[in-house]
């Protein structure tokens, strides 16, 4: 095949304009506003998963001496959260993926989110995993060949961790969003730009306002001199 002339090469060049928001990991309001639509789904998933994980252990009828295995409990919760998101996460901005040990992560718009069990109410350390450490350090690089210019789905600007907490019975207690900034082997090494407990959707849900309609018919009550034909009321005339 003959090599194309220079002028013909120009015809392959496309100018692509993608609007990239100017967001930094410390922009709490902007990030929370962006992930807001997915919070009810996460709560829903976590509530359903904790119910199912509890149900598993309650089904075993453990004796008092036998403790609920916390690792299996957490594993079951992650597994059921993942399944719930697979079944109900229909949002086109959402792209869920499984991690090792039934771990759950997903991209939502320009955020990459990991769903982790809190460590006694705190953001857990990434440990030895270099991938996790890079995630905590907001070490984001989108390879140009991954860049999907059509909808910019592969463009990640911020990494987030959403932790889940349960009470001693195993009921979901709260979800907290963290924008991590650093983390290593020990818990002391963990840093974050901000942390925000996510209000339960039931406390923020705004029911749709009723559609304005014409006022209804008033009750059929009229002055009829006598109420003989009005139906048998059974009441003596006192008037």
């Amino acid at each position: 095949m003959a090599r194309p002339a220079l002028t013909e090469w120009y015809s392959y060049v496309q100018i692509v304009t993608v609007e990239i928001p100017l967001v930094q990991p410390w922009d709490r309001e902007q990030i929370l506003g962006h992930v807001g639509p997915v919070v009810p789904l996460l709560h829903d998933a976590a509530e359903d998963a904790t119910q199912k994980a509890r149900g598993y252990f309650d089904g075993l009828s453990l004796t008092d001496a036998e403790q609920r295995d916390p690792y299996l409990y957490a594993h079951l919760v992650r597994y059921h959260v993942g399944r719930f998101l697979d079944a109900h996460g229909q949002d086109p901005q959402m792209d869920k993926r499984w991690l090792a040990n039934s771990g759950v992560a997903f991209r939502y718009g320009w955020t990459d989110i990991r769903f982790l069990k809190s460590l006694a109410g705190r953001l857990p350390a990434p440990g030895r995993s270099m991938v996790k450490r890079a995630f905590y350090h907001q070490d984001i690089s989108t390879p140009i060949w991954d860049f999907d210019a059509e909808n910019a789905r592969s463009l990640v600007l911020v990494n987030l961790v959403i932790t889940w907490d349960v009470d001693y019975l195993g009921n979901l207690y709260q979800l907290v969003a963290y924008s991590p900034s650093a983390g290593g082997l020990s818990q002391d090494s963990v840093r974050w730009h901000w942390a925000q407990p996510l209000a339960h959707p039931a406390t923020t849900y705004a029911p749709p306002p009723p559609e304005p309609t014409e006022a209804g018919e008033d009750l059929d009550i009229s002055d009829d001199d006598r109420a003989d034909e009005a139906g048998d009321t059974g009441e003596a005339d006192a008037g």
Binding site: N171, P201, T213
Partner: protein
């Protein structure tokens, strides 16, 4: 001349003991007992005025000697369970006082005929489905304005201007032949609880006229009736399908106009969730403090009955002269105004199409229920 029954009624309204009233008017306790038993024929005018003043009521209030048939009705059911005698008497007195003032209006005017059924030998679910049909409501959808629907079926709904800690409403069939259903509402109850209580009382009116059941059974039946009326199985089953979480229940509360807790109970009674899931959900509700106070953003607006105010408007005009109303009602003008304005005015009517039209349905077989 004043009547002892009115003194007792007024004392119950004010939640006073005979001794307290006696002390207020400067007589001994036995004098009040004698007055209430009509055993003192002539009373000193100063004493009559003293009693009226102590009760903050006009003397005319005590001069009404007419008997009305206003039974305690469902107060007898729940009263023995958790209600104090004093509160029971107060609730009964308010209902009686309001009904006494409304009854002449009902007799004078053309009012909606009673189409509410009285059933026996049916389950709460069947009774609720039948009641829905007779109220002209769909067999499967939410009821947007329950009180308006039952007022159209001839139920007289009276609003008490007071709050009671252990009671939201009570009901009775009143009149000499017990042919008029009445529900008395307590003020200040959240909308979801109010609607459930009204539905519960409707259950008593429809099902519990002469059934020799124990109080707990009666209450349980009325509760199941209320659930089935507000959340019919055929309509709500899809909404309550698992997975059922608090997040989803929050979206269902405004749709059905019932509390999150009522939705969970309904899901359990319909066997849509296991006993274990029911427990988990109630633990989560308790943990978040929603057993006593569900989130404010999900609050359901309380409904207000309309009929009493409409009757006043028909007789006294849209802007009634409350001096005249009060005179006829044997109350002070501000009391008459308070009583009337506890009920809805025209602007507070539910929107067009929000309620059905009551229908008279002959009751034959509970299983063959005519639908709208």
């Amino acid at each position: 001349m004043i009547f002892g029954a009115r003194v007792k009624e007024a004392r119950d309204l004010r939640s006073l003991t005979q001794s307290q009233l006696a002390e207020m008017v400067g007589v001994d306790h036995s004098t009040i007992a004698y007055i209430e038993a009509d055993r003192i024929k002539e009373l000193r005018p100063e004493l009559i005025e003293g009693i009226a003043e102590a009760m903050s009521l006009p003397v005319a209030f005590f001069e009404d000697g007419e008997d009305i048939d206003f039974p305690a009705g469902s107060l007898l059911f729940r009263a023995r369970l958790d209600m104090l005698k004093r509160e029971e008497a107060e609730a009964k007195a308010w209902g009686s006082v309001i009904y006494r003032r409304v009854r002449p209006l009902v007799n004078r005017l053309r009012v909606p005929p009673v189409t509410l059924p009285r059933l026996s030998g049916v389950t709460p679910d069947e009774a609720a489905a039948y009641t829905r049909a007779s109220l002209g409501l769909s067999h499967d959808g939410p009821i947007p304005h329950l009180i308006n629907a039952i007022e159209r079926a001839g139920v007289l709904v009276l609003a008490m201007p007071i709050q009671l800690p252990r009671r939201d409403a009570y009901s009775a069939w009143v009149g000499s032949d017990a042919l008029r259903p009445v529900i008395v509402l307590v003020n200040g109850v959240p909308g979801d609880r109010q609607r459930f209580s009204v539905a519960h009382e409707l259950g008593h009116l429809v099902m519990h006229q002469s059934r020799p059941l124990r109080i707990k059974e009666i209450e349980s039946e009325a509760g199941l009736f209320a659930e089935a009326l507000l959340m019919p199985e055929v309509g709500i089953s899809t909404d309550l399908e698992p997975p059922l979480t608090l997040t989803r229940l929050a979206t269902l509360k405004p749709k059905w106009g019932v509390s999150i807790q009522a939705l969970v109970r309904r899901a359990r009674h319909l066997d849509l969730i296991t006993k274990r899931q029911y427990t988990y959900l109630f633990e989560q509700i308790g943990k978040r403090g929603w057993r006593t106070h569900e989130p404010d953003n999900l609050a359901i607006q309380a409904e207000r009955p309309r009929a009493v105010r409409k009757m006043i408007e028909v007789i006294y005009g849209d802007a009634p002269d409350y001096r005249k109303v009060a005179q006829d009602m044997r109350l002070f003008p501000h009391q008459a105004k308070q009583l009337v304005e506890a009920h809805a005015d025209r602007s507070q009517l539910p929107p067009r199409g929000a309620v059905g039209e009551p229908r008279i349905i002959e009751f034959r077989k509970p299983t063959l229920i005519e639908r709208n």
